[in-house]
């Protein structure tokens, strides 16, 4: 329900009250606190207060070697760890001019896209849980479990992966992984169709999401919001296309864009993205070249002085790593630009005047991962 437009004028400061959402609240999906000033059921101001899980990863980057920082990158956005691996190894490879063998690049793409699907499945189930639908979680987690099993077999971990290395990968994939991934792609397509029929086209869901929490392309630009939030506002911005990295330029996929800008548009972007990820995985498996998975890398890594950026399309949007080197074996500065941080920063402006349940529908549609904001 859209709030009447005269909300600010009928707001009497003596009749408002402050509602603390979080830092321990299921709808915040982690330790995020939102200080809401309410006028009855309407939000007059929602101020996000992050920082409860701040770990200062950027300082940790300055007191260990380039290699030692790599496991940290999987713990920033724990749902799309491989993308964060990718951005950091990409920045270091760019600086040190390390060649990555083609086989390793293809495997990076395959595993990254699997990770994207598993991340979107967690968002989908948690979001529907927010909106009052419990059952989809059980289906989505069954699908996600298959991805976690596949990735566990080759990376050694289920969530906080540290699979990529400077110059390649720590492990080649085997036939079991290839067959398992092909089987997963074949299984997942009818599941996504079922999710569309049962959930996406469900009238209750659509009434909860259509027209709720409109975010314009201009608002996204002013706040630097990216990923499904920007693509749900009609802008086809995807780092995989505009700043192509790895072997994405050799694969055929398109960027789902929905112009409505409401919560439903952001929902649809992610659902359509999973289908595109399946396409990417299939093509990359077909094209997978033979050869080594590790390039030539010096034993002690010293990057040439200067600063280097590397951006990837993580599940939540543009993730950029900016490293500054002073030609030592430890970084001088590691800056992590994370998508959830910028996506949440527009919440205060976007949620003004909404009803509380709608403001929560908007919050969930941003797909926040709190350690990604706090770092």
């Amino acid at each position: 329900m859209i709030a009447p437009t005269d909300i600010p004028s009928r707001t009497n400061p003596q009749e408002t009250f402050v509602l603390n959402l979080g830092p321990q609240h299921p709808a915040a999906h982690g330790v995020l606190r939102i200080k809401m000033t309410m006028d009855g059921e309407y939000v007059t101001r929602a101020e996000p207060i992050p920082g409860y899980i701040h770990r200062m990863h950027e300082k940790m980057g300055e007191n260990r070697t380039w290699t030692q920082f790599l496991p940290n990158t999987g713990r920033i956005d724990y749902l799309s760890a491989l993308h964060y691996n990718h951005a950091f190894v990409g920045a270091v490879e760019r600086a040190a001019r390390i060649e990555v063998p083609p086989r390793a690049e293809y495997i990076r793409v395959i595993t990254s896209e699997l990770n994207r699907i598993s991340s979107h499945l967690v968002w989908w189930s948690a979001y529907l849980l927010d909106l009052g639908g419990f059952t989809p979680l059980l289906y989505a987690f069954a699908d996600r479990e298959k991805i976690l099993d596949l990735l566990e077999a080759i990376t050694g971990s289920r969530l906080t992966y540290c699979y990529f290395r400077f110059g390649g990968l720590c492990n080649d994939i085997d036939d079991a992984f290839i067959q398992g991934t092909r089987a997963f792609v074949a299984q997942m397509r009818p599941r996504l169709k079922m999710y569309r029929d049962l959930v996406t086209d469900n009238i209750i869901l659509r009434k909860r999401l259509e027209g709720i929490g409109p975010i314009s392309a201009e608002l996204c630009r002013k706040y630097g919001a990216t990923g499904p939030v920007l693509r749900g506002a009609g802008i086809a911005y995807d780092v995989r296309k505009v700043e192509p990295y790895s072997v994405y330029s050799q694969l055929d996929f398109h960027i789902p864009v929905f112009p409505e800008g409401d919560s439903m548009a952001r929902y649809r972007v992610r659902m359509a993205e999973m289908e595109q990820s399946l396409r990417i995985i299939e093509q990359a498996l077909d094209k997978l070249p033979a050869g080594p998975v590790m390039g030539k890398v010096p034993r002690v890594l010293r990057l040439p002085a200067g600063d280097y950026c590397y951006a990837v399309e993580a599940a939540r949007g543009r993730h950029m790593v900016r490293v500054v080197s002073d030609n030592k074996d430890i970084p001088y500065r590691v800056k992590l630009r994370t998508p959830s941080f910028s996506n949440l920063s527009l919440y205060e402006e976007a949620s003004k005047g909404m009803m509380l349940p709608d403001a929560l529908a908007l919050l969930g549609s941003l797909d926040l991962v709190i350690p990604d904001i706090d770092r």
Partner: protein, 188 residues
């Protein structure tokens, strides 16, 4: 509203010429009738000329993207950051991030503004240097409201004050934090 790299480089070199403040600025800004801008060729960038972490050789440089991850590198004086933000805003750019780098040996703080363009392939880096003992720089949050949080975070980590910022209370650090952990002389 999609500018070309050449147009932007040209616009920023005019900015550097007209508003140059040579005093205390580490930038080798030259004045005179001839434009001081030497736009680096990709070959020059490949030779490592863009890699200096200290004062860059010239204020406006086009950069070979595959080597650095951005297209345009602009070094300006601290008082020009708002003007630079306005130019990029008018050209349809979005703010990627703001951060600092503590160059303790030179007694300077570098403030780096990253921008991307949502509709085209253009990455711009704006950088400036300020004194380390009294780091202060104007806020760009009126131009890009998203800068509000990035500047608060930079204030948390480096103690850089953004003058005109509406609320510089700690964002990620505890609310009573009076330390700045990314300063190189910080000890826990």
């Amino acid at each position: 509203m999609i500018p070309s790299l050449e147009q932007l480089a040209e616009r920023f070199s005019r900015l550097v010429v007209t508003n140059a403040v040579p005093s205390r600025s580490p930038l080798p800004v030259t004045t005179g009738s001839a434009p001081p801008v030497a736009v680096a060729t990709p070959a020059a960038a490949a030779a490592g000329q863009t890699a200096a972490p200290t004062a860059p050789p010239c204020p406006v440089q086009t950069v070979d993207y595959p080597l650095k991850g951005y297209h345009l590198d602009v070094s300006i004086s601290p008082r020009q950051v708002v003007l630079a933000a306005e130019i990029l805003d008018q050209n349809g750019f979005a703010l990627d991030t703001i951060t600092g780098v503590d160059w303790i040996a030179q007694n300077e703080m570098e403030v780096v503004y990253d921008y991307f363009h949502p509709l085209s392939v253009l990455r711009v880096v704006i950088r400036t240097r300020i004194r380390r003992d009294n780091p202060e720089i104007p806020t760009i949050s009126p131009v890009f409201p998203g800068a509000n949080w990035h500047e608060r975070e930079t204030h948390d980590f480096f103690g850089i004050r953004f003058s005109g910022h509406p609320d510089l209370t700690p964002l990620l650090l505890p609310e009573d934090a009076d330390y700045h952990p990314l300063r190189k002389d910080f000890t826990a």
